[in-house]
Amino acid sequence: MMNYLSMLRFEFLALAAVVLLLLIKVFSEKTSSSLILNFVNAFLVAILGVSFVGCPQGTFFGGMFLNDGTLMLEKRVITFAALLISLQGYTWLKEHSAYVEFYLLLFSVLIGMYFMISSGNFLMFYLGLEMATIPLAALAAFDFGRVRSAEGAGKMILSSAFSSAILLFGLSLIYGSSGSLDFQAVSDNFSSFNLLQLLAFSFLFAGFAFKISIVPFHLWTADTYEGSPVAVTAFLSVVSKGAAVFIFITLLYKVFGSAYEKWLNAVILLSAITMTTGNLFAMRQTNLKRFFAFSSITQAGYILIGVAAATQQAMASVVYFFLIYIFSNVGAFTVISVISDRTGKDRVDDYKGLYKTNPKLSLVMMIAVLSLAGVPPTAGFFAKLFLLTSGASKGMIVLLIIASLNMVVSLYYYLRIVKAMFVDQNETPIHNFQSDFASRLVLVICVAGILLTGFFNTIFEYINSLSFGI
């Protein structure tokens, strides 16, 4: 029994949060919102804390649920990101009429992601995926007053349903060709792709491409990101993408690892297309949320380099990249959220002259953006170079040339933001204000993460020790 609880601790704790929140919603309508918000954030911290106690390995539900150090690490990363985003949205949620429901949905999403990451069977995987997706679409519509929020959610639910259908079709073909949905059994059957299996794999791959927003399956991303509340946009770009990438890697390496040569070129091609397309669109954006949507598509392209390299270090660099990406993206989104909360402004032009009025926010934004661009001394530099190095260790020279040139292009549009804040003049700059404690806490954590994580090798070594390749 203890073992059972210990292995499913993430899932049980998240479930407990859901139940508690339901009870609160039903029985104590009058409780102050800040108390509940503090409680929820403390709960997330507790989940993180508990996750460091011991690490049992094993399987459950007849091989449907797996647990080991790697999966624990991935769940930890996701929970950490969720915590940061929850803190970031503190002020927004305090005023929100349905903040309890927000967390109900958030924890449901987390449960779904935990199960998805831990799955050992395609059925469990699909269950987790849907559990993570549908509440997320509801979250995207959480700006009740804005039509665009509902529109973004609508686009998301439609494209999610579509991608789920594609994915399901792929899964049924997998079942048809191997007679099982168990990862191990499928893996044994898929050592050499026949035509049916290739088709099955392609559909599965396309379904994933939707979730990770890889070009050409990215079209929903920008609209959803723009429409959603900032906290949800951050969640979509960081947590949701992270969870999908983690299980994607597990599937590619463990289930389809023996057919590496078959899918390698597809991943390389998509990587090149994704980073280039994302870059070209990001250059033209004037709205910051749309801008970060395309920037996150570009980052997905870089991640695919690591996915394609498929060594232990490559996987470690993908996870590491995600950790840094959480710091950078959440940092940037927190600045956006603080500013749009106070002033309602979220266009690049509105940020002109920000350094004069809000120097600290501008510095955080600059550090975050430079980390995304991969400029030292930020950790983004290390993360990006590790991905490129993992590609180099497999000799993907053409992809690396495309990636390096894309880094130059991306520097242009990231510097546009820096230029707007530090160089440009503005008649009506955003006025000076003091941001709330929770946001400041997130900003401090993010900046510390960005500036310090790169230099110390222990974090990368730890992740590497839990990673695997083909």
């Binding site: 270090q313 430079l370 030292p376 001394p377 180099a392 020279i397 390096s404 510097l415 990368f460 070594e461």
Partner: protein, 489 residues
């Protein structure tokens, strides 16, 4: 000598500037840069006392990311020591010149020292990854220094400069990653310069990697046809940043071409050398002729830098010990000379509020000190004996002329011919700005240099004269290192 000091001093200076108030920031920056200069001189002193001077010394090697075979490996030889001294001299002068910056002075000094810190780290790194880290560290300071404190079309210039240099470093990065791949194939995965130099790459592999590494670094040293960032960037940047860009950043490129590309890929360097020599000669002449047409004296110096840095590339591509030594000497000489030039142009501009030569005139009468410094910089630029420019360019020419074939000799002669053009534009610039009648009445009231400007110019002039009159201690030291690097493996 512990080389970490050279990283630690700038790092502490940066911290100090962060903590200081706006008035004290410049004091901290000056103290830090003097401390760095002191450390550099001490290092030179210790290095010269070593028995095996010329070899890599003061090495330190720590594992940084074991999984990628990335080490924090630092060490210096004569070339890097010369570069470090150059950087610290220019840093001291740059801080002194910017003493009266009022607009966001704290940020200004922070970025200036950060720019220098990147250069120091670059010159002491022996591991390509570490080196690249420091190389890229300069991106943000460069952009902000030009875009915020610059003049003219500063935003355009800043963006163009940063993107072109980033393009160069993208090429360098591909080269580095290519090296890593080949080192994995050879069974010794490494980013270490020393390890990689023993790699025995095939001709084909070398021919593939060399253009990336060399061209990537050559963008930074403004080799024709990658020079277009230099005039825009140099002329739009604030004085100290121009000094730094032309004096140091361009030298990172030359150092990389020599110490990384040519050192690691000697066979490819031989194969490509005719093309590089051709481009270098075009750059030298083209730069010189374009300079002739410039009315703006800052732009004039920017274009003349393209011409002068052509000699660096030429010397490297000639692949003889003397020519390479000359290339290093030219880097140092041009670094100091151009810093002096930009400094004095900035000082004159601050007083006369014009950079157009024909609008000045007779300035020597009102500011004799600055006028003299301007003349010294000019004479160094045109290669008058007694100043550093002569030593450096002469060494390049002698080294180049050691080749006996027609192509190399013709190239040498073409490059030498540029000196005549240089003399024309320098003497003309001196004539129209300093001599003749005072053109505007308000010029009468202009003041001469202040103490900080005198000190800055003095330090640079002394360096030029020392190098010009006593060149051998330096050129012998560098010569030993080039000999070790390019003959002994």
């Amino acid at each position: 000598m512990n080389l970490n000091v050279l990283i630690l001093i700038p790092a502490l200076t940066l911290l100090g500037i962060l903590l200081a108030n706006a008035k004290m920031a410049r004091v901290v920056a000056l103290a830090g840069s003097f401390a760095q200069l002191g450390a550099g001189l001490f290092m030179l002193f210790v290095y010269r006392g070593l028995n095996d001077a010329g070899h890599l010394a003061f090495e330190e090697n720590h594992v940084w990311f074991a999984q990628w075979n990335i080490n924090y490996h630092i060490g210096v030889d004569a070339i890097s020591i010369a570069m470090i001294l150059l950087t610290s001299v220019v840093l001291v002068a740059g801080v002194l010149v910017s003493w009266n910056v009022e607009k966001q002075s704290k940020e200004f000094f922070f970025l200036l020292v950060m720019l220098a810190a990147g250069a120091f780290g670059f010159f002491i790194s022996v591991d390509l990854f570490t080196q690249f880290f420091f190389f890229e560290l300069a991106v943000i300071p460069k952009f902000l220094l030009i875009a915020i404190w610059g003049s003219g079309k500063k935003e355009y210039a800043a963006m163009k400069l940063v993107l072109m240099l980033m393009g160069g470093s993208a090429l360098v990065l591909i080269g580095i990653l290519g090296f890593y791949f080949y080192s994995i194939q050879a069974g010794t995965p490494s980013f270490d310069l020393v390890t990689l130099s023993h790699l025995n790459l095939t001709q084909e592999q070398q021919l593939f990697l060399f253009p990336m590494l060399f061209a990537g670094f050559a963008v930074l040293s403004a080799m024709f046809p990658f020079h277009t960032w230099a005039p825009d960037g140099h002329s739009s940047a604030p004085t100290a940043a121009s000094m730094f860009l032309a004096g140091i950043s361009m030298k990172l490129g030359g150092y990389g071409c020599l110490r990384v590309a040519t050192y690691l890929l000697p066979d490819a360097a031989h194969a490509y050398s005719p093309y590089i020599i051709t481009l270098a000669c075009i750059g030298i002449l083209y730069g010189a002729f374009v300079t002739l047409r410039q009315q703006d004296i800052k732009l004039m110096n920017a274009y003349s830098s393209v011409s002068h840095c052509g000699f660096v590339v030429l010397g490297i591509a000639m692949l003889t010990k003397t020519a390479m030594t000359g290339a290093v000497l030219q880097m140092i000489s041009h670094g100091i000379m151009t810093a002096l030039f930009f400094a004095v142009i900035g000082m004159i501009y601050e007083r006369s509020h014009t950079r157009i030569g024909s609008e000045m005139g007779g300035l020597f009468k009102v500011m004799p000190f600055l006028g003299s410094v301007f003349i010294i910089a000019g004479l160094t630029s045109l290669g008058l004996p007694g100043f550093s420019g002569f030593v450096a360019e002469m060494t390049v020419f002698v080294g180049s002329f050691q080749h006996t074939d027609v192509f190399h000799r013709a190239a040498t002669l073409v490059a030498t011919a540029s000196i005549v053009v240089t003399a024309v534009y320098i003497l003309r610039a001196v004539g129209i700005t300093l001599w003749g009648p005072i053109r505007k009445a308000e010029f009468e009231k202009l003041s001469d240099a202040r103490w900080n400007e005198k000190l800055a110019a003095g330090i640079l002039v002394v360096s030029i004269v020392i190098m010009g009159t006593m060149p051998f201690w330096l050129s012998d030291m560098i010569g030993r290192t080039t000999e070790i690097l390019f003959t002994v493996k």
